[in-house]
Subunit: 480 residues, 2 copies
């Protein structure tokens, strides 16, 4: 697989990305337009994402459920903005069981509608609130330009849906889930996301407010990596989700929804990858260590493999995810390159000399060459590996944070903003423009408002476009 070097990031980031995704065996092309196959190595990263999130969802009182894949077409039309937002992307089942259906069924692009309808059945009184539901599922949005993990016609995700008695509780939930996404991204995926609020233009179809975590990829483009929506009473009114209050009155619920998808796998690739391939954060890496046995003669082979097997067991006993590369007919050099391509955080080399001297070589993926290599006594190798994995996790985050911070610049005029965006950087600027102003900036620069970050300067300023006094800065960037 790794005979030929991949395209350098600096040369063509987009080609680099596609090559990495396929050569690191994360995904494979599929015969279905706009869909990819998620291969085991990519799927294991997704399983890591799932378990990291699921644990956090359950710890905050959410329960998983499963709703139908198909949604009657009429449901989608019930919330006006919602239908406008999703109509162009729908896949529609018109025939089933050999007959034309009376009402076409839409393959879910998201499940606010069918879950809204269910909530209206399930919720009677304030005693039923809050209702905190999450679903792990596939969704379909018929996109024209697709890229593995970043944008595919079908993708995997979780969608949370909750109902509350008051606006403030719904807002608290919306922000709590954003915090969970950010905590997961930073702690597990080592992606230093920025939390913020979306502009009106970029809001979810039908939401009161949309919050987002935004990440900077290695080409400095922004990737929206998870969103959390306060839906106000819009869906409650469209689907008649009412409850009896303690004071015995009927009121509409306040609902939220929040989602994070297999796009996060793409974020991991594009945040940490380099010209050698993937660099996986140890907490999400399918294999945290790979052991490569090195030998020439058969006599060496037996002794080396004995040691390798012993070490494998020690790593497993320490709950580390270890893989032994026993492929015959491939040189150690080929294997080193291959595992570098696949981003395994730590490589363990065991040769005949190491067997003799009770040594092992540990090589870090995040620090290439001699600097990242060390000889360790086999007696200490598990303990040292464990420490190194913690350090690699920390280092990848630190590295990404430095990169991010080096490429966000303040713009105090529209000319400056234009220049910054033209360089491919992110611009931070005061903003109080209209929707039309925002569209104009997009047309003229290619950048969109990624968010109004929660972290704001103390002072007010002048809107970089309209010149009006503005309370908040926004982040502008080209985005995926």
């Amino acid at each position: 697989m790794s005979e030929q070097a991949v395209t350098a990031q600096s040369e063509d980031f987009s080609s680099w990305y596609n090559e990495i995704v396929y050569r690191a065996d994360l995904a494979a092309p599929s015969p279905v337009r706009g869909c990819v196959i998620i291969k085991p190595y990519g799927y294991e990263i997704w399983e890591g994402i799932k378990s990291g999130l699921d644990r956090r969802f359950k710890a905050t009182g959410h329960q998983n459920a499963y709703f139908p894949l198909f949604i009657p077409e009429s449901y989608i039309k019930r919330e006006a903005q919602h239908v406008e937002g999703f109509s162009p992307e729908l896949a529609v089942v018109t025939h089933a069981g050999g007959k034309e259906l009376e009402e076409p069924l839409v393959v879910r692009p998201t499940s606010e509608t069918v879950i809204g309808e269910a909530f209206s059945d399930w919720i009677q009184s304030y005693r039923d609130l809050p209702l905190l539901i999450n679903q792990w599922s596939n969704v379909v949005r018929w996109e024209l330009r697709t890229r593995p993990f970043l944008r595919t016609a079908e993708f995997l995700w979780q969608e949370g849906h909750t109902a509350h008695a008051t606006h403030d509780e719904a807002e608290e939930e919306t922000l709590q889930m954003l915090d969970i996404y950010a905590d997961f991204a930073i702690e597990d995926a080592a992606i230093p996301v920025i939390k913020g609020e979306k502009s009106r233009m970029e809001r979810f179809a039908g939401a009161l407010r949309t919050y987002t975590i935004e990440a900077m990829m290695r080409d400095k483009r922004a990737l929206q990596s998870g969103t959390s929506h306060n839906l106000g009473q819009n869906f409650a009114k469209a689907f008649d989700i009412q409850f009896l209050t303690e004071a015995n009155t009927q009121e509409y619920c306040w609902t939220t929804s929040w989602g994070l998808s297999t796009r996060m796998v793409g974020a991991v690739v594009m945040t940490h990858g380099d010209d050698k391939g993937l660099r996986l954060p140890p907490k999400l890496a399918p294999y945290q260590l790979v052991i490569v046995p090195i030998y020439r003669r058969d006599a060496q082979r037996t002794a080396v493999l004995e040691t390798v097997e012993r070490l494998r067991k020690s790593f497993e006993a320490a709950n580390l995810r270890v893989h032994v590369d026993l492929r015959e007919g491939q040189s150690p050099g080929f294997k080193f390159n291959d595992w570098e391509m696949r981003g395994v955080p730590l490589r363990v080399e065991i040769g005949p000399k190491d067997v003799e001297n009770n040594n092992a070589v540990l090589a870090r993926r995040d620090v290439m060459g001699r600097e990242g290599k060390q000889f360790v006594s086999q007696d200490d190798v598990v303990a040292v590996a464990r420490e190194l994995l913690v350090d690699i996790q920390r280092n990848l985050l630190e590295d990404a944070r430095e990169f991010r911070d080096a490429h966000i610049q303040d713009a105090s005029s529209y000319d400056e903003l234009r220049a910054i965006v033209a360089e491919g950087e992110w611009a931070r600027a005061f903003w109080d423009g209209s929707d039309d102003d925002e569209l104009a900036v997009k047309d003229e620069t290619g950048a969109t408002i990624r968010c109004f970050p929660f972290e704001q300067p103390d002072a007010q300023g002048a809107c970089v476009y309209s010149g009006r006094s503005a309370e908040k800065v926004a982040l502008f960037a080209k985005a995926y």
Copy 2:
């Protein structure tokens, strides 16, 4: 929820089942024809099934992957028997992104075709074999008569797909996966399934041999609970899955597939449930224990809840899944009934007297009334509960096994078979009939051959229908 008694099993098993499913909050009706919503309590049982199986799949070298939901219509048609088997049940997407598609896309009823196509890309040589893949996903089969969990237009399942160099390796895999299903069913779900081979008539469309685990429900009907197929080279030929042998020749692979679905949730309900509701095996129960606090006055409340909270922590520290029922405005009696309906294996009652005497009451779901109740010192309650849960798991299995064995009868003539089936029992009889004979038995008795069980008598016998000398007995029963 539980104010009114459910229909007795003996009165109308089918009504009993539907009432239990909805009143125990496993599922809810959905607005989409033939689909149900799996509610959190039902979904947690499915999560238990998933983790029990996934652990076993991974321990035997299988990896998870994800393939597209949509399959080009032409793919389905490539394996002749396959298309015949699935055509009547297909749901078809004809429009997407606002346009009519050039080729309609089938919503996967199963993924042999699209995975076969992928395997033909991925497999080059014997070094790539065996290829051991599993997928957790939703599938759609447009069924006319649907019932929650047992038969729904959309359901959740896993489908394993593997490729091998030889027939024998594929056969070994097929049988290994059947063993895994049986081990899971018996050990985790406490369902004493019978392993066997399907008749030609009941084989998977396109398979060489189909193996099954069959379970007896409390109405004595059979439920096919998981199947494992040796696909021979049929799909390899249809999808050109070839490999280079060590001897440098091109050969077709031998493939297998095997699946188990949310139907297993229905099997748990119908194997263990009684007229009071569900009885969940502790290994799959979302809550293994529920604590019901009992108090009248506010002064009692504080002391009781303190004790309850302390016990909750002890149970959690012992890794037991515990729930505290703090609902206000509901009597303890209501709560007892409700948790009996929902099948929680152990109930813990804590009242003011128990606080005073450092006691707790433990009540088993599988042994109702006084006999299943005991007073335990709070100091021992965790240890005793743990032992009781092991005993409940064992008891449910034993109970189901006794029930099963009491309702399988040997038939030495067709008249006997007819009589046994008419009583609603399973008949075990020698069989060497033709496909037409098998259809005739189905027409005349309503029973199908569930399987040729692996456990066979030592002697040969005469076929119960054709009178020909027969090597094997088959199990005949009415089935879901």
